[in-house]
Symmetry: C2
Subunit: 246 residues, 2 copies
Amino acid sequence: MSQQDDVPTPPWERPRKRQAPARIPLTRERIVDAAFVVLDRDGFDKLSMRQVAAKLGVAVSALYVHVDDKDELLRLMYNRMFEGVDLPDPDPETWQEQIKDFARSGRERLLRHRDMARISMGHVPFTGELLPHIEKLFAILKAGGLPDKVMAIAGDLLSTYMEGFTLEENMWRERMGEASWQTISTETENYFASLPPDRFPNLVALADLMVGETNDYRFELGLDIIVRGLASYSVSPSAPDGDEAP
Amino acid sequence: MSQQDDVPTPPWERPRKRQAPARIPLTRERIVDAAFVVLDRDGFDKLSMRQVAAKLGVAVSALYVHVDDKDELLRLMYNRMFEGVDLPDPDPETWQEQIKDFARSGRERLLRHRDMARISMGHVPFTGELLPHIEKLFAILKAGGLPDKVMAIAGDLLSTYMEGFTLEENMWRERMGEASWQTISTETENYFASLPPDRFPNLVALADLMVGETNDYRFELGLDIIVRGLASYSVSPSAPDGDEAP
DNA sequence: GTACATTGTGAACAGTGTTCTTTCGGCTTT
DNA sequence: AAAGCCGAAAGAACACTGTTCACAATGTAC
Protein backbone atom coordinates (compact mmCIF):
# COMPACT_ATOMS: atom_id res chain seq x y z
CA MET A 1 0.00 0.00 0.00
CA SER A 2 2.61 2.61 1.05
CA GLN A 3 5.97 2.77 -0.61
CA GLN A 4 7.66 4.93 1.96
CA ASP A 5 9.99 2.18 3.15
CA ASP A 6 11.80 2.01 -0.18
CA VAL A 7 15.36 3.18 -0.11
CA PRO A 8 15.77 6.51 -1.86
CA THR A 9 16.52 5.97 -5.51
CA PRO A 10 20.23 6.57 -6.23
CA PRO A 11 20.97 9.68 -8.23
CA TRP A 12 22.31 7.83 -11.26
CA GLU A 13 18.97 6.18 -11.70
CA ARG A 14 17.12 9.44 -11.87
CA PRO A 15 16.73 9.91 -15.59
CA ARG A 16 16.67 13.64 -16.16
CA LYS A 17 16.25 16.16 -13.46
CA ARG A 18 13.99 15.17 -10.64
CA GLN A 19 12.42 11.87 -9.97
CA ALA A 20 10.32 9.83 -12.26
CA PRO A 21 6.84 10.25 -10.77
CA ALA A 22 7.05 7.56 -8.13
CA ARG A 23 3.62 8.43 -6.88
CA ILE A 24 1.50 8.97 -9.94
CA PRO A 25 -0.09 12.34 -9.44
CA LEU A 26 -3.84 12.48 -9.31
CA THR A 27 -5.23 14.26 -12.32
CA ARG A 28 -8.63 14.83 -13.82
CA GLU A 29 -7.75 12.33 -16.52
CA ARG A 30 -6.94 9.58 -14.04
CA ILE A 31 -10.09 10.30 -12.08
CA VAL A 32 -12.23 10.09 -15.18
CA ASP A 33 -10.50 6.87 -16.18
CA ALA A 34 -11.26 5.34 -12.81
CA ALA A 35 -14.83 6.55 -12.97
CA PHE A 36 -15.29 4.71 -16.26
CA VAL A 37 -13.87 1.54 -14.75
CA VAL A 38 -16.35 1.75 -11.89
CA LEU A 39 -19.18 2.61 -14.27
CA ASP A 40 -18.54 -0.38 -16.49
CA ARG A 41 -18.17 -2.69 -13.54
CA ASP A 42 -20.98 -1.53 -11.23
CA GLY A 43 -23.33 0.56 -13.35
CA PHE A 44 -24.49 4.13 -12.98
CA ASP A 45 -26.45 3.64 -9.78
CA LYS A 46 -23.38 2.42 -7.93
CA LEU A 47 -21.04 5.00 -9.40
CA SER A 48 -20.09 6.94 -6.29
CA MET A 49 -17.22 9.21 -5.43
CA ARG A 50 -16.13 6.72 -2.80
CA GLN A 51 -15.95 3.91 -5.30
CA VAL A 52 -13.92 6.03 -7.68
CA ALA A 53 -11.56 6.99 -4.87
CA ALA A 54 -11.25 3.37 -3.80
CA LYS A 55 -10.39 2.37 -7.35
CA LEU A 56 -7.55 4.89 -7.24
CA GLY A 57 -6.46 3.89 -3.73
CA VAL A 58 -7.06 7.38 -2.49
CA ALA A 59 -9.25 9.19 0.00
CA VAL A 60 -12.56 10.54 -1.19
CA SER A 61 -11.74 14.09 -0.28
CA ALA A 62 -8.68 13.99 -2.51
CA LEU A 63 -10.96 13.91 -5.53
CA TYR A 64 -12.43 17.24 -4.62
CA VAL A 65 -9.08 18.92 -5.15
CA HIS A 66 -9.33 18.19 -8.85
CA VAL A 67 -13.06 18.05 -9.37
CA ASP A 68 -15.64 20.46 -8.03
CA ASP A 69 -18.63 18.19 -7.98
CA LYS A 70 -19.90 14.81 -8.87
CA ASP A 71 -21.73 16.77 -11.52
CA GLU A 72 -18.47 18.00 -12.92
CA LEU A 73 -17.09 14.49 -12.96
CA LEU A 74 -20.09 13.35 -14.97
CA ARG A 75 -19.62 16.30 -17.28
CA LEU A 76 -16.02 15.28 -17.87
CA MET A 77 -17.14 11.75 -18.65
CA TYR A 78 -19.73 13.14 -21.02
CA ASN A 79 -17.16 15.25 -22.80
CA ARG A 80 -14.81 12.35 -23.23
CA MET A 81 -17.42 10.76 -25.46
CA PHE A 82 -16.67 13.30 -28.13
CA GLU A 83 -12.91 12.89 -28.24
CA GLY A 84 -11.85 11.81 -31.68
CA VAL A 85 -15.16 12.49 -33.33
CA ASP A 86 -14.47 13.52 -36.87
CA LEU A 87 -17.30 14.42 -39.15
CA PRO A 88 -16.64 14.42 -42.88
CA ASP A 89 -16.74 17.53 -45.00
CA PRO A 90 -20.24 18.25 -46.23
CA ASP A 91 -21.10 16.60 -49.52
CA PRO A 92 -24.40 17.60 -51.12
CA GLU A 93 -24.60 14.25 -52.89
CA THR A 94 -24.42 12.05 -49.81
CA TRP A 95 -25.63 14.34 -47.05
CA GLN A 96 -28.33 11.90 -45.98
CA GLU A 97 -25.80 9.15 -45.44
CA GLN A 98 -23.52 11.58 -43.65
CA ILE A 99 -26.29 12.47 -41.25
CA LYS A 100 -26.98 8.82 -40.62
CA ASP A 101 -23.32 8.20 -39.93
CA PHE A 102 -23.40 10.97 -37.38
CA ALA A 103 -26.19 9.26 -35.50
CA ARG A 104 -24.66 5.82 -35.91
CA SER A 105 -21.36 6.84 -34.45
CA GLY A 106 -23.17 8.60 -31.64
CA ARG A 107 -25.03 5.46 -30.73
CA GLU A 108 -21.82 3.50 -30.97
CA ARG A 109 -20.11 5.81 -28.54
CA LEU A 110 -23.02 5.63 -26.16
CA LEU A 111 -22.97 1.86 -26.19
CA ARG A 112 -19.25 1.75 -25.53
CA HIS A 113 -19.75 2.16 -21.80
CA ARG A 114 -22.42 0.73 -19.61
CA ASP A 115 -25.19 3.16 -18.71
CA MET A 116 -23.49 5.88 -20.73
CA ALA A 117 -26.84 6.87 -22.18
CA ARG A 118 -28.08 7.76 -18.73
CA ILE A 119 -25.17 10.11 -18.23
CA SER A 120 -25.68 11.63 -21.64
CA MET A 121 -29.34 12.23 -21.03
CA GLY A 122 -29.76 15.03 -18.57
CA HIS A 123 -26.97 17.15 -19.95
CA VAL A 124 -27.81 20.31 -21.76
CA PRO A 125 -25.99 19.45 -24.95
CA PHE A 126 -23.99 22.61 -25.44
CA THR A 127 -20.72 22.21 -23.68
CA GLY A 128 -18.03 24.16 -25.48
CA GLU A 129 -16.14 21.04 -26.52
CA LEU A 130 -18.76 19.89 -28.94
CA LEU A 131 -19.64 23.15 -30.59
CA PRO A 132 -17.36 22.25 -33.54
CA HIS A 133 -19.31 19.07 -34.09
CA ILE A 134 -22.63 20.84 -34.08
CA GLU A 135 -21.22 23.36 -36.48
CA LYS A 136 -20.17 20.64 -38.86
CA LEU A 137 -23.50 18.89 -38.54
CA PHE A 138 -25.14 22.13 -39.53
CA ALA A 139 -22.84 22.41 -42.50
CA ILE A 140 -23.92 18.98 -43.69
CA LEU A 141 -27.57 19.85 -43.28
CA LYS A 142 -27.04 23.06 -45.18
CA ALA A 143 -25.38 21.15 -47.98
CA GLY A 144 -28.53 19.06 -48.09
CA GLY A 145 -30.50 22.15 -48.92
CA LEU A 146 -32.47 22.30 -45.70
CA PRO A 147 -34.01 25.63 -44.74
CA ASP A 148 -32.65 27.36 -41.67
CA LYS A 149 -35.57 26.65 -39.39
CA VAL A 150 -35.28 22.92 -40.10
CA MET A 151 -31.55 22.95 -39.47
CA ALA A 152 -32.17 24.60 -36.13
CA ILE A 153 -34.34 21.73 -34.92
CA ALA A 154 -32.65 18.85 -36.74
CA GLY A 155 -29.82 18.61 -34.24
CA ASP A 156 -32.22 18.20 -31.35
CA LEU A 157 -34.25 15.70 -33.31
CA LEU A 158 -31.28 13.53 -34.15
CA SER A 159 -29.56 13.59 -30.78
CA THR A 160 -32.84 13.05 -29.00
CA TYR A 161 -33.56 9.96 -31.07
CA MET A 162 -30.06 8.64 -30.78
CA GLU A 163 -29.91 9.11 -27.01
CA GLY A 164 -33.44 7.95 -26.36
CA PHE A 165 -33.10 4.83 -28.44
CA THR A 166 -29.82 3.90 -26.84
CA LEU A 167 -31.18 4.60 -23.40
CA GLU A 168 -34.00 2.19 -24.01
CA GLU A 169 -31.58 -0.37 -25.35
CA ASN A 170 -29.51 -0.01 -22.23
CA MET A 171 -32.53 -0.35 -19.99
CA TRP A 172 -33.69 -3.62 -21.42
CA ARG A 173 -30.29 -5.10 -20.90
CA GLU A 174 -29.90 -3.70 -17.40
CA ARG A 175 -33.32 -4.40 -16.00
CA MET A 176 -32.99 -8.10 -16.55
CA GLY A 177 -29.29 -8.52 -16.25
CA GLU A 178 -29.19 -12.22 -15.50
CA ALA A 179 -31.18 -13.76 -18.31
CA SER A 180 -29.80 -13.77 -21.80
CA TRP A 181 -30.98 -11.40 -24.46
CA GLN A 182 -32.46 -14.30 -26.37
CA THR A 183 -34.54 -15.39 -23.40
CA ILE A 184 -35.87 -11.92 -22.76
CA SER A 185 -36.82 -11.17 -26.32
CA THR A 186 -38.68 -14.43 -26.87
CA GLU A 187 -40.43 -14.03 -23.52
CA THR A 188 -41.49 -10.51 -24.41
CA GLU A 189 -42.59 -11.57 -27.86
CA ASN A 190 -44.65 -14.36 -26.36
CA TYR A 191 -46.20 -11.93 -23.92
CA PHE A 192 -47.37 -9.62 -26.67
CA ALA A 193 -48.52 -12.51 -28.78
CA SER A 194 -50.54 -13.92 -25.90
CA LEU A 195 -52.63 -10.81 -25.33
CA PRO A 196 -56.34 -11.11 -26.04
CA PRO A 197 -56.50 -10.64 -29.82
CA ASP A 198 -59.90 -8.99 -29.79
CA ARG A 199 -58.70 -6.12 -27.62
CA PHE A 200 -55.12 -5.90 -28.89
CA PRO A 201 -55.14 -7.04 -32.51
CA ASN A 202 -52.24 -4.86 -33.60
CA LEU A 203 -50.01 -5.61 -30.63
CA VAL A 204 -50.53 -9.30 -31.24
CA ALA A 205 -49.86 -8.97 -34.94
CA LEU A 206 -46.74 -6.87 -34.49
CA ALA A 207 -45.27 -8.87 -31.63
CA ASP A 208 -42.49 -10.36 -33.69
CA LEU A 209 -41.61 -7.14 -35.45
CA MET A 210 -41.42 -5.16 -32.21
CA VAL A 211 -38.94 -7.33 -30.39
CA GLY A 212 -37.88 -9.94 -32.89
CA GLU A 213 -35.83 -7.60 -35.02
CA THR A 214 -32.29 -6.56 -34.27
CA ASN A 215 -31.72 -3.32 -32.44
CA ASP A 216 -29.45 -2.32 -35.29
CA TYR A 217 -32.25 -2.82 -37.76
CA ARG A 218 -34.78 -0.91 -35.69
CA PHE A 219 -32.34 1.93 -35.16
CA GLU A 220 -31.66 2.14 -38.89
CA LEU A 221 -35.33 2.24 -39.70
CA GLY A 222 -36.08 5.02 -37.24
CA LEU A 223 -33.12 6.93 -38.56
CA ASP A 224 -34.36 6.56 -42.09
CA ILE A 225 -37.76 7.90 -41.12
CA ILE A 226 -36.19 11.00 -39.61
CA VAL A 227 -33.90 11.60 -42.57
CA ARG A 228 -36.79 11.20 -44.98
CA GLY A 229 -38.71 13.76 -43.01
CA LEU A 230 -35.77 16.13 -43.15
CA ALA A 231 -35.29 15.53 -46.86
CA SER A 232 -38.92 16.39 -47.48
CA TYR A 233 -38.01 19.93 -46.48
CA SER A 234 -35.01 20.14 -48.77
CA VAL A 235 -35.09 22.90 -51.35
CA SER A 236 -32.13 21.59 -53.27
CA PRO A 237 -32.97 20.03 -56.65
CA SER A 238 -31.11 16.79 -55.98
CA ALA A 239 -32.92 16.07 -52.75
CA PRO A 240 -34.97 12.99 -53.64
CA ASP A 241 -32.24 10.60 -54.64
CA GLY A 242 -34.27 7.94 -56.32
CA ASP A 243 -35.78 5.75 -53.61
CA GLU A 244 -37.98 8.41 -52.08
CA ALA A 245 -41.44 7.05 -51.57
CA PRO A 246 -44.14 9.26 -53.09
CA MET B 1 -47.85 17.41 16.45
CA SER B 2 -49.44 14.74 18.69
CA GLN B 3 -53.08 14.93 19.59
CA GLN B 4 -53.06 12.49 22.45
CA ASP B 5 -53.63 15.16 25.08
CA ASP B 6 -57.06 16.07 23.71
CA VAL B 7 -59.96 15.21 25.92
CA PRO B 8 -61.98 12.34 24.49
CA THR B 9 -64.67 13.68 22.20
CA PRO B 10 -68.03 13.56 23.99
CA PRO B 11 -70.49 11.05 22.53
CA TRP B 12 -73.01 13.67 21.42
CA GLU B 13 -70.45 15.10 19.11
CA ARG B 14 -69.85 11.89 17.30
CA PRO B 15 -72.03 12.32 14.25
CA ARG B 16 -73.24 8.90 13.15
CA LYS B 17 -71.87 5.71 14.47
CA ARG B 18 -68.20 5.94 15.17
CA GLN B 19 -66.17 8.91 14.48
CA ALA B 20 -65.81 10.63 11.20
CA PRO B 21 -62.55 9.22 9.87
CA ALA B 22 -60.34 11.22 12.20
CA ARG B 23 -57.24 9.59 10.87
CA ILE B 24 -57.49 9.32 7.10
CA PRO B 25 -56.12 5.92 6.17
CA LEU B 26 -52.90 5.85 4.25
CA THR B 27 -53.36 4.55 0.73
CA ARG B 28 -51.29 4.30 -2.39
CA GLU B 29 -53.34 7.10 -3.86
CA ARG B 30 -52.63 9.47 -1.00
CA ILE B 31 -48.94 8.62 -1.11
CA VAL B 32 -48.74 9.31 -4.82
CA ASP B 33 -50.61 12.57 -4.31
CA ALA B 34 -48.15 13.67 -1.68
CA ALA B 35 -45.24 12.63 -3.86
CA PHE B 36 -46.49 14.92 -6.60
CA VAL B 37 -46.77 17.79 -4.17
CA VAL B 38 -43.17 17.29 -3.09
CA LEU B 39 -42.06 16.89 -6.69
CA ASP B 40 -43.66 20.12 -7.80
CA ARG B 41 -42.32 21.99 -4.83
CA ASP B 42 -38.77 20.66 -4.52
CA GLY B 43 -37.96 18.94 -7.80
CA PHE B 44 -36.92 15.41 -8.59
CA ASP B 45 -33.55 15.54 -6.87
CA LYS B 46 -35.13 16.36 -3.55
CA LEU B 47 -38.01 13.92 -3.90
CA SER B 48 -37.26 11.54 -1.05
CA MET B 49 -39.33 9.06 0.87
CA ARG B 50 -38.76 11.13 3.98
CA GLN B 51 -40.13 14.25 2.35
CA VAL B 52 -43.19 12.40 1.15
CA ALA B 53 -43.75 10.99 4.61
CA ALA B 54 -43.33 14.42 6.16
CA LYS B 55 -45.89 15.84 3.76
CA LEU B 56 -48.34 13.23 5.01
CA GLY B 57 -47.40 13.72 8.64
CA VAL B 58 -46.38 10.12 8.92
CA ALA B 59 -43.27 8.05 9.63
CA VAL B 60 -41.13 6.99 6.69
CA SER B 61 -41.52 3.32 7.42
CA ALA B 62 -45.28 3.63 7.17
CA LEU B 63 -44.91 4.20 3.44
CA TYR B 64 -43.29 0.83 2.97
CA VAL B 65 -46.47 -0.91 4.06
CA HIS B 66 -48.18 0.34 0.93
CA VAL B 67 -45.28 0.70 -1.45
CA ASP B 68 -42.48 -1.77 -2.02
CA ASP B 69 -39.83 0.59 -3.24
CA LYS B 70 -39.08 4.10 -4.18
CA ASP B 71 -38.98 2.59 -7.65
CA GLU B 72 -42.55 1.43 -7.28
CA LEU B 73 -43.60 4.87 -6.12
CA LEU B 74 -42.05 6.37 -9.23
CA ARG B 75 -43.79 3.76 -11.32
CA LEU B 76 -47.12 4.69 -9.78
CA MET B 77 -46.44 8.34 -10.55
CA TYR B 78 -45.54 7.41 -14.09
CA ASN B 79 -48.73 5.44 -14.53
CA ARG B 80 -50.85 8.29 -13.27
CA MET B 81 -49.75 10.27 -16.29
CA PHE B 82 -51.89 8.08 -18.49
CA GLU B 83 -55.10 8.34 -16.54
CA GLY B 84 -57.79 9.86 -18.71
CA VAL B 85 -55.86 9.56 -21.94
CA ASP B 86 -58.34 9.01 -24.70
CA LEU B 87 -57.17 8.57 -28.24
CA PRO B 88 -59.69 9.09 -31.02
CA ASP B 89 -60.84 6.33 -33.31
CA PRO B 90 -58.55 5.95 -36.29
CA ASP B 91 -59.46 8.10 -39.25
CA PRO B 92 -57.53 7.49 -42.49
CA GLU B 93 -58.17 11.06 -43.56
CA THR B 94 -56.60 12.78 -40.59
CA TRP B 95 -54.22 10.19 -39.22
CA GLN B 96 -51.28 12.56 -39.38
CA GLU B 97 -53.04 15.08 -37.22
CA GLN B 98 -54.14 12.33 -34.87
CA ILE B 99 -50.54 11.23 -34.45
CA LYS B 100 -49.49 14.76 -33.75
CA ASP B 101 -52.21 15.11 -31.17
CA PHE B 102 -50.92 12.01 -29.47
CA ALA B 103 -47.49 13.56 -29.10
CA ARG B 104 -48.87 16.95 -28.15
CA SER B 105 -50.96 15.58 -25.34
CA GLY B 106 -48.00 13.52 -24.18
CA ARG B 107 -45.83 16.58 -23.94
CA GLU B 108 -48.61 18.42 -22.19
CA ARG B 109 -48.87 15.70 -19.58
CA LEU B 110 -45.14 15.68 -19.08
CA LEU B 111 -45.06 19.42 -18.55
CA ARG B 112 -47.88 19.25 -16.05
CA HIS B 113 -45.52 18.37 -13.23
CA ARG B 114 -42.03 19.61 -12.60
CA ASP B 115 -39.29 17.18 -13.64
CA MET B 116 -41.89 14.69 -14.82
CA ALA B 117 -39.85 14.04 -17.94
CA ARG B 118 -37.03 12.72 -15.81
CA ILE B 119 -39.33 10.22 -14.19
CA SER B 120 -40.74 9.22 -17.54
CA MET B 121 -37.31 8.69 -19.03
CA GLY B 122 -35.81 5.60 -17.57
CA HIS B 123 -39.00 3.58 -17.56
CA VAL B 124 -39.34 0.74 -19.97
CA PRO B 125 -42.52 1.96 -21.58
CA PHE B 126 -44.60 -1.16 -21.40
CA THR B 127 -46.47 -1.17 -18.14
CA GLY B 128 -49.75 -2.95 -18.53
CA GLU B 129 -51.77 0.18 -17.98
CA LEU B 130 -50.77 1.79 -21.22
CA LEU B 131 -51.05 -1.17 -23.53
CA PRO B 132 -54.48 0.05 -24.67
CA HIS B 133 -53.00 3.36 -25.72
CA ILE B 134 -50.22 1.75 -27.71
CA GLU B 135 -52.80 -0.44 -29.34
CA LYS B 136 -54.83 2.53 -30.39
CA LEU B 137 -51.75 4.36 -31.62
CA PHE B 138 -51.02 1.37 -33.79
CA ALA B 139 -54.54 1.43 -35.12
CA ILE B 140 -54.11 5.04 -36.19
CA LEU B 141 -50.82 4.28 -37.88
CA LYS B 142 -52.40 1.35 -39.66
CA ALA B 143 -55.19 3.57 -40.86
CA GLY B 144 -52.49 5.79 -42.31
CA GLY B 145 -51.39 2.92 -44.50
CA LEU B 146 -48.02 2.40 -42.84
CA PRO B 147 -46.36 -0.97 -43.32
CA ASP B 148 -45.96 -3.18 -40.27
CA LYS B 149 -42.26 -2.67 -39.77
CA VAL B 150 -42.72 1.10 -39.68
CA MET B 151 -45.59 0.82 -37.22
CA ALA B 152 -43.36 -1.26 -34.96
CA ILE B 153 -40.76 1.49 -34.67
CA ALA B 154 -43.03 4.54 -34.90
CA GLY B 155 -44.12 4.30 -31.29
CA ASP B 156 -40.56 4.39 -30.06
CA LEU B 157 -39.75 7.23 -32.41
CA LEU B 158 -42.63 9.36 -31.25
CA SER B 159 -42.32 8.75 -27.54
CA THR B 160 -38.57 9.16 -27.69
CA TYR B 161 -38.93 12.54 -29.36
CA MET B 162 -41.70 13.65 -27.07
CA GLU B 163 -39.87 12.66 -23.91
CA GLY B 164 -36.47 13.85 -25.06
CA PHE B 165 -37.74 17.21 -26.18
CA THR B 166 -39.64 17.77 -22.98
CA LEU B 167 -36.71 16.65 -20.89
CA GLU B 168 -34.54 19.24 -22.54
CA GLU B 169 -37.21 21.86 -22.03
CA ASN B 170 -37.34 20.98 -18.38
CA MET B 171 -33.58 21.13 -18.04
CA TRP B 172 -33.20 24.60 -19.39
CA ARG B 173 -35.77 25.87 -16.97
CA GLU B 174 -34.33 23.96 -14.02
CA ARG B 175 -30.65 24.58 -14.53
CA MET B 176 -31.09 28.29 -14.26
CA GLY B 177 -34.05 28.55 -12.01
CA GLU B 178 -33.59 32.09 -10.81
CA ALA B 179 -33.29 34.06 -14.01
CA SER B 180 -36.30 34.55 -16.20
CA TRP B 181 -36.80 32.65 -19.41
CA GLN B 182 -36.38 35.83 -21.37
CA THR B 183 -33.02 36.54 -19.79
CA ILE B 184 -31.70 33.08 -20.46
CA SER B 185 -32.78 32.90 -24.04
CA THR B 186 -31.34 36.25 -25.01
CA GLU B 187 -28.13 35.45 -23.18
CA THR B 188 -27.83 32.15 -24.99
CA GLU B 189 -28.64 33.72 -28.30
CA ASN B 190 -26.00 36.35 -27.72
CA TYR B 191 -23.51 33.67 -26.82
CA PHE B 192 -24.05 31.82 -30.08
CA ALA B 193 -24.06 35.01 -32.04
CA SER B 194 -20.76 36.08 -30.47
CA LEU B 195 -18.82 33.00 -31.53
CA PRO B 196 -16.02 33.54 -34.04
CA PRO B 197 -17.88 33.62 -37.36
CA ASP B 198 -15.04 32.11 -39.36
CA ARG B 199 -15.06 28.90 -37.33
CA PHE B 200 -18.79 28.75 -36.54
CA PRO B 201 -20.61 30.42 -39.42
CA ASN B 202 -23.74 28.31 -39.13
CA LEU B 203 -24.04 28.52 -35.37
CA VAL B 204 -23.78 32.28 -35.61
CA ALA B 205 -26.29 32.48 -38.41
CA LEU B 206 -28.80 30.20 -36.70
CA ALA B 207 -28.47 31.72 -33.23
CA ASP B 208 -31.85 33.38 -33.30
CA LEU B 209 -33.67 30.40 -34.78
CA MET B 210 -32.22 27.98 -32.24
CA VAL B 211 -33.30 29.76 -29.11
CA GLY B 212 -35.39 32.65 -30.29
CA GLU B 213 -38.36 30.58 -31.33
CA THR B 214 -41.04 29.29 -29.00
CA ASN B 215 -40.68 25.80 -27.61
CA ASP B 216 -44.15 25.14 -28.95
CA TYR B 217 -43.04 26.08 -32.44
CA ARG B 218 -39.88 24.01 -32.31
CA PHE B 219 -41.80 21.02 -30.99
CA GLU B 220 -44.33 21.31 -33.79
CA LEU B 221 -41.64 21.50 -36.41
CA GLY B 222 -39.81 18.42 -35.14
CA LEU B 223 -43.11 16.61 -34.95
CA ASP B 224 -43.89 17.52 -38.52
CA ILE B 225 -40.54 16.20 -39.69
CA ILE B 226 -41.21 12.86 -38.04
CA VAL B 227 -44.74 12.60 -39.40
CA ARG B 228 -43.54 13.46 -42.88
CA GLY B 229 -40.96 10.72 -42.61
CA LEU B 230 -43.64 8.29 -41.51
CA ALA B 231 -45.96 9.38 -44.28
CA SER B 232 -43.24 8.78 -46.83
CA TYR B 233 -43.63 5.10 -46.03
CA SER B 234 -47.39 5.09 -46.42
CA VAL B 235 -48.77 2.74 -49.02
CA SER B 236 -52.28 4.16 -48.91
CA PRO B 237 -53.27 6.21 -51.97
CA SER B 238 -54.40 9.22 -49.97
CA ALA B 239 -51.15 9.56 -48.07
CA PRO B 240 -49.72 12.78 -49.50
CA ASP B 241 -52.41 15.20 -48.50
CA GLY B 242 -51.38 18.11 -50.65
CA ASP B 243 -48.54 19.94 -48.91
CA GLU B 244 -46.02 17.15 -49.14
CA ALA B 245 -42.73 18.53 -50.36
CA PRO B 246 -41.38 16.58 -53.34
C1' DG C 1 17.49 24.80 5.21
C1' DT C 2 13.40 27.08 5.85
C1' DA C 3 8.92 28.81 4.22
C1' DC C 4 5.27 27.99 1.15
C1' DA C 5 1.61 26.21 -1.43
C1' DT C 6 -0.36 22.30 -3.10
C1' DT C 7 -2.18 17.67 -2.40
C1' DG C 8 -3.86 13.86 0.26
C1' DT C 9 -5.89 12.31 4.85
C1' DG C 10 -9.45 11.07 8.35
C1' DA C 11 -13.25 12.41 10.58
C1' DA C 12 -17.50 14.46 10.52
C1' DC C 13 -22.21 16.29 8.88
C1' DA C 14 -26.45 16.01 6.78
C1' DG C 15 -28.89 13.43 3.92
C1' DT C 16 -30.57 9.07 1.47
C1' DG C 17 -33.29 4.14 0.90
C1' DT C 18 -34.54 0.34 3.52
C1' DT C 19 -35.39 -2.93 7.40
C1' DC C 20 -36.15 -4.31 12.10
C1' DT C 21 -38.69 -4.48 16.39
C1' DT C 22 -42.06 -2.41 19.05
C1' DT C 23 -46.37 -0.10 19.83
C1' DC C 24 -50.82 1.14 18.72
C1' DG C 25 -55.75 1.19 16.88
C1' DG C 26 -59.72 -0.70 15.18
C1' DC C 27 -62.11 -4.95 14.10
C1' DT C 28 -63.84 -9.46 15.01
C1' DT C 29 -64.98 -13.00 18.04
C1' DT C 30 -66.58 -14.76 22.03
C1' DA D 1 -69.20 -6.00 26.79
C1' DA D 2 -64.50 -7.96 27.20
C1' DA D 3 -60.81 -10.32 24.98
C1' DG D 4 -58.08 -11.15 21.45
C1' DC D 5 -56.00 -10.36 17.14
C1' DC D 6 -53.89 -8.56 13.16
C1' DG D 7 -52.70 -5.12 10.02
C1' DA D 8 -50.79 -0.52 10.14
C1' DA D 9 -47.91 3.08 12.01
C1' DA D 10 -43.77 4.53 14.84
C1' DG D 11 -39.02 4.80 16.08
C1' DA D 12 -34.56 3.50 15.88
C1' DA D 13 -31.00 1.62 13.38
C1' DC D 14 -27.92 0.23 9.27
C1' DA D 15 -25.34 1.02 5.40
C1' DC D 16 -24.82 4.03 2.17
C1' DT D 17 -24.45 8.75 -0.34
C1' DG D 18 -22.11 13.79 -1.56
C1' DT D 19 -19.56 17.22 0.54
C1' DT D 20 -16.64 19.89 3.85
C1' DC D 21 -13.47 20.64 7.45
C1' DA D 22 -9.05 20.95 10.02
C1' DC D 23 -4.85 18.69 9.88
C1' DA D 24 -0.58 16.24 8.07
C1' DA D 25 2.50 15.10 4.45
C1' DT D 26 4.59 16.36 0.31
C1' DG D 27 7.45 18.39 -2.93
C1' DT D 28 8.80 23.31 -4.81
C1' DA D 29 10.93 27.82 -4.42
C1' DC D 30 13.69 30.96 -2.29
